[in-house]
């Protein structure tokens, strides 16, 4: 937490219990444990999917990063995030979204580990390749089944995340949000991909209807005209 503040130049705050624009990670004491909360860095992040201006994106290394110069402040990322991570500078006149970016530009991009993992004196936060961490988590659960709950939070949650948790207490009791295991962006992408069909079929259908209806009315008019002509000729 302190390391995060230091590297990101965030102002000090007194025991924060929720993420905010000044607190990109927090440690909450709950059910006898210290629980750290920060961005989960989803494999398929909904925040990046919903952003209309690509201000958020998933880097190849894993962190989900934010480009403040693109952001229009619609706050859809905040609504869409199933973990409630992105926060807003509500008090600023020209505000930004703020969240953990896993020290991407400052450390991870240069092959170093993020500040939180580097500073952690107990090894509670460990940084590494996702596959290695999953292997280690599985080994820890297998070696000490009495201690850990048999669940790696983040393995499947929201389609899988780059942050993984092990716990001796059920995650639901620790205030971890219930999320579905499927990829969130897929939910809307399945609908968005129908648009080309709607436009082409709809466009053709509308022109067709217009053509048929108009032609029928024209024929009716012609018919009427002929009848009137005949009647006119007869009298």
């Amino acid at each position: 937490m302190l390391a995060c503040k230091e590297i990101n130049g965030l102002p000090a705050s007194e025991n924060p219990t929720e993420l905010s624009a000044d607190n990109w990670t927090i440690v909450r004491k709950q059910a006898g444990l210290n629980i750290r909360k920060q961005c989960m860095h989803c494999l398929e992040p909904s925040c990046a999917s919903v952003c209309p201006v690509k201000a958020l994106h998933k880097t190849p290394e894993g962190p989900v990063v934010y480009d403040a110069s693109r952001c229009i402040g619609c706050r859809y990322c905040m609504l869409a995030c199933p973990f409630g991570v992105p926060t807003y500078e509500w008090d600023k006149r020209l505000p930004k979204v703020q969240k953990c970016v896993m020290c991407y530009d400052k450390l991870v991009k240069h092959g170093k580990q993020p500040a939180c993992a580097a500073a952690c004196p107990t090894g509670a936060t460990k940084f590494g390749e996702r596959e290695d961490l999953i292997r280690e988590a599985e080994a820890r659960i297998a070696n000490d089944p009495g201690h850990y709950v048999d669940h790696i939070y983040g393995l499947k949650e929201a389609g899988g995340t780059s942050v993984l948790y092990l716990s001796p207490v059920a995650f639901a009791d620790l205030g971890f949000p219930g999320v579905v295991d499927e990829s969130y962006p897929k939910l809307t992408w399945d609908i968005l991909t129908k648009i080309p069909n709607i436009v082409s079929v709809g466009g053709v259908a509308l022109f067709g209807i217009y053509w048929v209806v108009n032609r029928r009315m024209m024929m009716e008019r012609l018919e009427k005209g002929k009848v009137e002509e005949k009647e006119g000729g007869a009298s």
Binding site: R70, T87, D190, I195
Partner: protein, 522 residues
């Protein structure tokens, strides 16, 4: 309209605008936090729920009537095509205007144009709304060209009118439904009474019904205000379509809920179920039932009242998705601030004024009707009724919000307090592996009697290390090499460093060699 009512309405309008301007000033100078009750876990409120979702939906009459007249060629509806298109055009302009207040960076509203993300529903909505507003401008432009006496542009628009209308219908279909798709990505945040992958379909159907109801509403009001006759047979036709749409919506909604296994939520006592039944019974079933009777459809007041109910039900439905349905997953008990209400109300009031200004200066309603209006049998009754219904609309909304804030059973302050208590009293374990850096060598100053090696183990309580007492500010948590050279210049004895804990101003007794040696060991 009597002089008294006119003055009353004018003063109400001025009061609304004054409050709105004040709120707008605060919004621009001090930001969203000072203006709204939005929070990090409730980022979208009244401005998205009403100004955007409701605003766009109520403007749907424009594309429906345009399609009826120009594509399906039901020419008799031509009489109401212009006002419907005008309503839609003004509606969309106001939606964009309202968006400027909700966006954190309104100066960047153009960003989606050049930085678009095709995966984003919001991007799709933004593009469609922008293009459709241009289409509406084109559909409406003949009236302006006519007024200006420009023949050529009028002819060009006329020759392109069918493709323009078709484009408008396609764009409307896309974004009216996509406003629902916005919420398809929040399956765990939106309450199951409203969450369904069919949201775009429901948004589309309800927008058409509400758009048509809005056409009836505005025909009635402008008939009253501008002394024109109503087009009863046309409006009754629209009412019949509304009945069908509401019936489809009602059946499909209930069927979808039961299919998803979520219908039981509607029968559990909760804010959500109350708001759900308010929407379904008062806003869908009741107007549908009323409009099924020919007597209601053929009475001006009955028709107007049922249209109002449809509109209110639509508003409640949208706010249920945007506010009621999201509240359960949030710790915020969101009630819009007075400034949020003030800006929203001013924008609505602005819409009424712009509409009547346009009607006065452009040929929105065919001229003949205006002249013969006085003699028509279908002059609606005294205006009092409409005023009462408008008040009713706001009353309905207010009661809704009051319900949300007062009978909230699941996420009231109790739940939040419980969480905090648990956090405070929980025993703390898990520092067993606390393993701080072994020895930290402080660079030796030239005057120093020997190097100091700081030992974390002897300086911390291993059960409760309290890292913050030294690491929030003074000493780098990161062991940042870049900050180390400064250490040589620092006086570690003063109260900002070792002295702070050891002995106040100066750490230890500087004259006592033994004390020096306890730290300067090498």
């Amino acid at each position: 309209m009597s002089k008294w009512t006119r003055t009353t309405w004018r003063s109400i309008f001025i009061a609304i605008m004054a409050l709105g301007l004040y709120a707008a000033f605060i919004r621009i100078t001090r930001g969203l936090g000072a203006t709204t009750n939005l929070t990090n876990d409730f980022p979208w409120g009244l401005w998205v729920g009403f100004d955007i979702l409701v605003g766009v939906g109520l403007a749907a009459g424009g594309f429906v009537i345009a399609a009826t007249v120009h594509i399906f060629n039901i020419k008799r509806y031509h009489a109401i095509a212009r006002p419907a298109i005008l309503t839609a055009f003004l509606g969309y302009l106001l939606v964009i205007f309202a968006l400027m207040f909700d966006l954190g960076r309104p100066d960047r509203i153009w960003h989606p144009l050049v930085m678009g993300n095709p995966h984003s529903v919001m991007f799709e909505v933004a593009m469609c709304v922008m293009l459709y507003t241009m289409v509406l401008g084109l559909e409406f432009s003949p009236l302006i060209f006519k007024r200006l006496g420009w023949e050529r542009p009028q002819k060009i628009i006329h020759s392109l009118y069918i493709p323009i209308v078709i484009l408008g219908v396609l764009l409307s279909t896309l974004h009216q439904s996509s406003l629902g798709t916005l919420y398809v990505i929040v399956p765990t945040k939106l309450h199951p009474l409203w969450y369904t992958p069919l949201l775009p379909v429901f948004f589309f159907i309800s927008a058409i019904a509400a758009g048509l109801a809005m056409t009836i509403f505005e025909s009635y009001l402008s008939a009253r205000a501008f002394g024109r006759r109503l087009e009863p047979e046309l409006l009754q036709g629209l009412a019949r379509v509304i009945v069908v749409l509401l019936a489809v919506l009602l059946v499909w909604k209930i069927q979808n809920l039961s299919g998803r296994g979520s219908l039981h939520y509607a029968f559990e006592p909760s804010t959500e179920s109350v708001m759900f039944w308010g929407e379904v019974l008062l806003g869908i079933a009741l107007p549908m039932g009323l409009l099924m009777f020919a007597r209601v459809r053929e009475s001006n007041d009955g028709l107007f009242f049922a249209a109002m109910l449809t509109i209110m039900g639509f508003i409640l439905g949208r706010l249920n998705v945007a506010i009621t349905g999201i509240m359960g997953s949030s710790t915020t008990n969101y009630v819009p601030s007075w400034m949020e209400f003030a800006i929203t109300t001013s924008i609505v009031a602005l819409g009424f004024v712009l509409f009547s200004t346009a009607v006065r200066h452009l040929e929105v309603f065919p001229q003949v009707e205006r002249r013969t209006a006085a003699r028509e049998a279908f002059m609606p009754r005294r205006p009092v009724f409409a005023g009462r219904v408008l008040l009713g609309l706001w009353g309905f909304l207010l009661v809704g919000f009051a319900l949300v804030s007062f009978i909230d059973t699941r996420n009231g302050p109790d739940a939040a307090t419980a969480r905090v208590d648990e956090a405070t009293f929980a025993p703390i374990v898990g520092y067993g592996d606390f393993n701080p850096p072994e020895e930290t060598r402080i660079p030796q100053h030239e005057d120093s009697p020997g190097q100091v090696i700081f030992d974390h183990q002897t300086h911390t309580d291993l059960k409760e290390p309290g890292c913050a007492s030294c690491h929030s500010g003074t000493y780098s948590m990161l062991g940042n090499d870049a900050s180390r050279p400064d250490w040589v210049k620092m006086d570690f004895h003063d109260k900002n460093h070792c002295g702070g804990c050891h002995d106040g101003d100066n750490a230890f007794d500087l004259e006592d060699d033994d004390e020096c040696a306890s730290c300067h060991m090498e």
